[in-house]
């Protein structure tokens, strides 16, 4: 403490001496120049900062909209794969309804923002419907990034019964029509359509966006299913094939009790279901595998079955009692324990799947996005004869192969509607539409798709009107 004052006095004297010794303008000039430079830089920084602030807000605004839409997409993903439990229509989201709304969030996103969403399920025991009877989920998504909040509302609806309304042959990817094969139906592919030598495509056609209808030598494309009017018109649109949800209930237990087996041409009833033959002996088929032996017929009397595999050997038949439509679901290869590349439907020569009165039989395949599943269709029926196969095959994740024939009269003739991941028609195979019957898929577990998108006021709403401001 005693040394502080002498030191300060010494510092003051030294500073005064330095000031006295300064004879030019170096210091003031440099100070002024630094001040001027600082002012110029400050103006630039402020301007850049303002511009940057606007840019950041624009980015946050877009990110917030994306987060809000992420919430909406999450809702549809869950409701398209999980059936609401009885008594809790919010069960696919893992919550319970409050005033008719399911509420989730806010959820932290990896981008640094948050999102939350609310779904209106109503107060009844069933999900609400729109004016046309389509199930409707009203979803409000809210996204927040930085200081910016955005809300969107999307009315998601289930249109799953109208898959074949516009085109009767559909593939999510490519359709290949080999030489001398033909399609007499509206045909749409999410990828390309390839018509090889002498192949005919008779009916309206559509390919995916930026894809093409590729015609080889002498291949024909006609606007009508009678192959009378050549055309070059091809639509371009993406194909939406909703996935198949396998029901929990079925009539599998009817096989072979109430569903009879008969020999149609002298052979014994050689049919196998679930590891056991129709005569009660142990068979070679696996779990939920229906294997119909040569010249045998199985008649289904129920309305809904869930198989893993169906094999129809030569001259065998799978028959359906007339008057009602039968739906056969095929479980995913993961659920059935099948490796990639398994044929879940294998129809051999002269085998048939048909109903007594011509009503189409529905075959729906759950398939898998990670394991390939294949469908082999083969009939060797007369191309000019009446349709002997009356089926609706819906396999959005499976590769469909319609087997070839050696001549135009012994290729597979398939009647009905067909949808697959890819479709390949072998040489001399033919696909036709049977216009006498309703090709719409029967109501099943709903598949929701976005239908009406609006942005709402950013201010978050509260129960019971989460969709206020939309």
């Amino acid at each position: 403490m005693n040394h502080r004052y002498p030191r300060r006095a010494r510092d003051i004297r030294r500073f005064s001496a330095r000031l006295r010794s300064e004879r030019g303008f170096a210091v003031p000039t440099v100070l002024l120049m630094m001040l001027a430079a600082f002012a110029v830089v400050s103006v630039g920084v402020v301007t850049a900062s303002n511009t940057q602030r606007g840019t950041v807000r624009d980015q946050d605004s877009k990110a917030a909209v994306q987060l809000a839409e992420a919430g909406v997409n999450e809702v549809m993903l869950r409701y398209n794969h999980l059936t609401p439990a009885v008594g809790n229509l919010c069960s696919p989201l893992g919550v319970s309804p409050v005033n008719g709304w399911c509420q989730v969030g806010p959820v932290q996103d990896a981008s640094g923002g948050t999102y939350s969403y609310q779904v209106y399920v109503g107060t009844a025991t069933q999900l609400p419907e729109d004016d046309q009877g389509n199930l409707e989920l009203r979803v409000v998504g809210t996204g927040a990034m930085g200081g910016t909040t955005r809300r969107v509302m999307n009315a998601a609806k289930s249109f799953s019964t109208n898959v074949f309304g516009d085109y009767q042959v559909k593939a999510g990817e490519d359709i290949v029509v080999e030489g001398d094969a033909s399609i007499n139906a509206g045909t749409a592919a999410g990828g390309d359509i390839h018509l090889n030598n002498n192949a005919d495509l008779c009916g309206p056609a559509s390919v995916g966006v930026v894809h093409n209808l590729q015609q080889n030598q002498n291949a024909g494309h006609f606007s009508d299913t009678d192959c009378q009017n050549p055309t070059t018109d091809v639509g371009h649109e993406d194909i939406s094939l909703p996935p198949v949800s396998v029901p929990l209930t079925n009539n599998n237990s009817r096989l072979f009790g109430q569903d009879p087996v008969s020999a149609v041409s002298g052979n014994n009833a050689r049919a196998c279901w679930n590891g056991r033959n129709a005569d009660g002996t142990i068979g070679s088929c696996g779990a939920r595998h229906l294997d119909i032996g040569n010249a045998s017929a199985v008649t289904l009397g129920g309305s809904q079955y869930v198989f893993c595999k169906l094999t129809t050997n030569s001259n065998s038949s799978l028959l359906v009692s007339g008057g009602s439509r039968v739906v056969i679901y095929f479980d995913s290869p993961e659920s059935c324990g099948y490796p990639s590349g398994t044929a879940q439907l294998d129809m051999n020569s002269n085998s048939r799947i048909t109903s007594n009165d011509g009503t189409p039989v529905e075959l729906r395949f759950a398939g898998s996005t990670t394991r390939q599943t294949i469908l082999h269709l083969s009939a060797n029926t007369d191309a000019d004869a009446e349709c002997q196969q009356n089926m609706i095959v819906y396999a959005p994740l499976s590769d469909v192969l319609v087997n070839p024939g050696s001549t135009s009269n012994n290729g597979t003739t398939y009647c009905g509607a067909l949808a697959g991941k890819t479709i390949t028609l072998g040489s001399n195979a033919h696909l036709r539409v049977n216009g006498d019957y309703d090709l719409a898929l029967q109501p099943t577990i709903p598949y929701y798709q976005p239908d009406e998108f609006v942005e709402c006021r950013a201010a978050p709403a509260t129960a019971p009107t989460f969709d206020a401001g939309c």
Partner: protein, 200 residues
């Protein structure tokens, strides 16, 4: 006080003064500094109106772009049979509009109503007009942007994955561009690109 005054007088008396060389150098440096400052100031004052106009244009452009992109996001698929039209200088489409004075919502509980919105750009100016697609009632056209170097603002793409054209502003010009996919266009989503290029 008296002591301080004495010290100051003594210091002034002790000041030996500046040499002529110092004064000349100081004068030259001072003139250079003042001259440079004056030039910078004059240039800043001269460019101020242009900077302000440009800043205002960017602000208005941002506002218009954000509003337009938001309307496009909520838009229906462009369809000539429904009365839609599109070109580089105009765009007429159906979208949802909040609290519209022209278009009435069919659902009393909703703030948004389906509306036909038409943007028309000519001579550096864009105007926006609403119309009720059900009744045909026309709203008042309102100018939303001015000072554009080019009236070519819109481009429609059937493939939403394709790149938007990049605007090329003239020397020192400013451009704002954005794009939005029409969310209510079902299986055939199209995209509209927006590019505002301002005069330099």
């Amino acid at each position: 006080m008296r002591r301080l005054a004495l010290i100051a007088r003594r210091r002034l008396a002790a000041e030996a003064g500046f040499t002529l060389t110092e004064l000349l150098m100081a004068t030259v440096i001072g003139l250079l500094v003042v001259g440079t400052g004056t030039m910078v100031f004059t240039a800043a004052v001269r460019s101020q109106p242009g900077q302000s106009a440009r800043s205002e244009a960017i602000r208005d452009g941002r506002t218009m772009t954000e509003r337009l992109v938001r309307e496009l996001r909520q838009g229906e698929a462009l369809d000539t049979s429904a009365g839609d039209s599109w070109g580089s200088q105009s765009l007429s489409f159906r979208t949802f509009v909040h609290n519209s004075a022209t278009c009435a919502s069919t659902d009393p509980g909703r703030e948004t109503a389906l509306c036909r919105v038409t943007y028309t750009c000519t001579s550096g100016v864009c105007i926006r007009a609403e119309a009720d697609p059900q009744t045909g009632t026309q709203g008042t056209a309102v100018q939303v942007i001015s000072g554009l170097a080019s009236p070519a603002v819109f481009s429609y793409q059937t493939d939403p994955r394709a790149d938007c054209p990049v605007p090329t502003p003239a020397n020192e010009g400013v451009s704002i561009s954005d794009a939005a996919t029409l969310r209510n266009s079902g299986d055939a989503p199209g995209r509209v690109c927006v590019a505002l290029v301002f005069t330099s």
